[in-house]
Symmetry: C2
Subunit: 140 residues, 2 copies
């Protein structure tokens, strides 16, 4: 969803967009969008102004925002499920597996982020336009 919102902002090329308009595109509630924008603001990916005639826009050009940054800004939790209960420490495997898996998963997540780094928001826009070349109207 975060990528969707940023793609719309990129599409609007700097014009401030309200959370209501973004919600219209994502087909959700403005509050959901605003909560998401808070995360993106913390990551310095978007800037938001309050008040009448306000809205949000990208802090940087779409070519200088990659999806790894978006992923890190939004993805609070680990991508790999952690066990609800602690493993049985009486078992040698259970006792030591946690730390080992953390290392392996950190490496895997790193690989994932490095792949996401290869795609910028501008690239996403380009792919969208290539996929749907006919559409020109800026509905929001």
């Amino acid at each position: 969803m975060a990528v969707h919102v940023l793609a719309v902002l990129a599409y609007k090329e700097g014009d401030p967009v309200t959370s209501a308009m973004l919600a219209g595109s994502v087909n959700t509630n403005p509050v959901i969008i605003r909560r998401l924008l808070l995360s993106l603001q913390r990551a310095r990916l978007v800037e938001t102004r309050m008040g009448a005639g306000a809205g949000s826009r990208l802090s940087r050009s779409p070519g200088r925002i990659n999806l790894a940054e978006v992923y890190r800004a939004v993805e609070a939790a680990e991508p790999f499920a952690k066990p609800a209960r602690k493993a049985n420490t009486a078992c040698p495997v259970g006792h030591c597996i946690r730390e080992t898996l953390n290392r392996v998963f950190a490496s895997a997540e790193n690989a994932l982020e490095r792949d996401l780094e290869k795609t910028t928001l501008a690239g996403v826009i380009g792919m969208i336009k290539a996929t749907c070349p006919a559409i020109v109207k800026k509905t929001g």
Copy 2:
């Protein structure tokens, strides 16, 4: 959790292990383990025999099972959240972003799996033993 179970099986070096014993190590319920084992059976990673004195063991040696296989066997859902509602198709971005993101995410997931391929179960066991060299007792 799947890796934990397989690590125990690898640790037991071919001895059949019951779901109750595995549940003891993971500190969960035998039924949870059995459901997990069903997935691992479908992926031909473990073999399970029913009846008295039965249990599960690895289908292959730990050195020939990598974590990408385990990931694929267990991870049913996409790692990236899909929107609950459909995007607004009246918006050009909303209309075409789905397919574009699917491509990007498929690439990222591929990168993740290629990283997981680098680690085998035997490697996990090795790391565990290196982390906790003192423990020898085979509790389960």
